[in-house]
Amino acid sequence: MNVSFTNVQKTYCTLRGKVEALRGIDLEIGQGEFFILLGPSGCGKSTTLNLTAGLELPTAGEIRFADKIVSSPEKKIFLSPRERNVAMVFQSYALYPHLSVFENIAFPLRVAKAKEIGKPVRNTAHTLGIATLLDRKPAELSGGQRQRVAIARALVRNPDLFLLDEPLSNLDAQLRTSMRAELKRLQRDTGVTTIYVTHDQTEAMTLGDRVALFRDGELVQVGTPDELYGRPRTSFAATFVGSPAMNLLPAGIQKEGDTTVITCADGRSELPQEKAWMLERLVTREALLGIRPEHITITTTAELASLKGRIETIEPLGRELLYHVRTGVGNVLVLTTEAELRLGDTVHLVFDPSHIHLFQPEHGAS
C-alpha cells in the first residue's frame, strides 16, 4: 500500500504558545518501500509517524493510504488507528506487562475477535525465534527478546503498513547490528510498506530504500541513501548524513574565464564542469565548501593549491585513521589509510574536485 502526505501540518498548543511540529510536509511512499524518516530530536519525524498511525490529528493537510483519505481536517475525515490496519513498534517496546508473550502477540487478534488465534501467534513467534518463550511474562525477557515480541505483535495480523519508532535505540551495539539485518530481511520477505523513524544516520543508510531527512518540522531532502550521501541539498543534509561528518569550510567563488575557482584560505580548487549546477543555489559569492573526510588527500609535501594545516588529534579506527587537522579556516577531518603521520606534523590537504559540494551558508544556524 502506498502512503501520501499532502501539505500536512501539525501545530501543538502549549502553555507557552503554539509550537509548529510540522510545517507542511509533502511525501509519497511507495508500495513495499522501506522508508526512513531521519532527523535530530524534535524535527517532526515522530509526529509524522503518529499522524500516519492515527494517534494524532493533523492541523491541516491530507494523508492518504492508497486512494483512501485517512486524515483530512479540511474534509473532516479521520480514521482511528483500528480502521487503518497499521502496526507499530515502539522504542519502549510497550509490551503489556500483565500478559504472557503469547497473549501479548495475540492481543491484536483478540481485539479484532479473530477466529483463529493460536496458529498465527505460533507461526509469527516461530518466524522471530521466540516460540519457546510464549509462556513467559515480559519482565522475564531480555531486551532483544522483548524487541522480538514487539515485532511479532505488530506482524501477527498482516498489517497494511508497518511503523517503527526508533525500535533499535534501546539495544546494545552488537544486537542492534544483527536486529538491523533481521528487520531488513523481514521487511523484504513480508513486502509490507514500512515507515521507520530514527535519528541514527547509519540505520537510515543501511536499512532504507529511501530516506526523508527532517529538520525543524520541514523536509530537507528526500532520496535514496546514495542520493543523500552523494548529493546533499543543504549543508545540514551534508553534515547529518555520513560518518565522520562532512567538512564545511568558508570559501570564495571566482570566475576565471570559463572555469570557476573555489578558494579556501591558501587552498584552490577548480570546480569541474559537471558540478556547475551547484552554483545556482548560491545567492552570494560567499559559500560553504563541503568535502567528505574520505575525499581529501593528505601529504607532507607542499603542493600547489593545497590547504596547509597541523595535525591536532589522531583517531585510529582500525582499517583507517581519522586525522583532525587545524587549518587557517577551521578544523578539517581527514579519513585515510595513510598511517605515517604524527601528531603536530605540518600537512597539506588536497581536495578531490569531483567530490566538492557547495552550499549557501545559513544564517543563524550552522
Binding site: M88, L95, Y96
Partner: protein, 276 residues
Amino acid sequence: MREESVKKILLAAAVALTTIFCLGPFIYMVLTSLSNNPDFLLPTKPFTPTLANFMAVISSESAHFLAYLRNSLVISAVVAVVTVFLASLAAYALTRLSLPGKTILLLSVLALSMFPPISLISYLFKLMSALGWVNTYAGLILPYVAWTMPLSLWILVSYFAQVPLDLDRSARIDGASRFQTLIKIILPVAAPGVFSTALLVFIFAFNEFLFALMLTVDYRSRTIPVGIALFEGIHGQIPWGEIMAAATITTIPVVILTLLFQKRIVQGLTRGAVKQ
C-alpha cells in the same frame, strides 16, 4: 557491639510500645467481648472467658445485628465498585485525553472534599426525603460514592499517570477502543492501585457514621457503626459485652480484606512494562 545491642533493644522497645498503643483498644475490646462480667475493669473479680456475648448479639432478633452487618457489607461493596469504576473513567480522561484545565479540575475536586460532612447533612436529608430514599440502600450509596470520589480520583490519577503512555498508544494501534484500552490494559497494569483504592473506599464507607445516622431509620438500611452506637440492652442498660462482641465481629471483614489484598497491593505489576 554494645552500641549495636542498645540500639536493638531501643528499637524493640519502640516497636512494642507502638504496637501496644495501637492494639491496646482493640485488645480491650476483644477481652471485654469475651468477658462474662460487665464490670471487667475491676481487678478483684476473676476473668472467665465466654462466648455468651457473641451468641447473644448474633441470636438476638431485636438487636438486628446481622441485618446491620449485611447492610454495611452490601453498601460498602457497591460503593467500592461504583466509585472505583467511575473514578477510573475520570482518571483515564484526566491522564490520557487532552482536556483544558486538568489541574483546575483536580484541585476543585479536592476543594469539594474539604466540605465538612456536617455542613451537607441537612440538605442531603431534604434531598433524600424528596426522593423518598431515606432508609434505603440507594440513599446511602449515592452520598458515599460522592464522598469517596475525590480521594479515589486522586489516588487513581497518580497510579494511572505511572502507566506508560506507550501502552495506550500500542493498544489503540492494536485495534482496541479507548474503553477496551482502559479495561484490558490500564486497569490490570494499575491493579495494585485499583485494589488499594477499592479497599480504602470500602473501609471508608464501612466506617462512615454521620450520613448513616441521619439517613437511616431502622434495620432495613442501618449500617453497623450506627447500629452499634444505638445498641441498647433489652432493659435499657448499656450492654458493654454485647457491644464489644458486635464491634469485634465488625472488624473481621476489614481485617480479612486487608490481608487478602495485601499481596496484590504489594505486587509490583508494572515491572518489565517498558525498558527502564
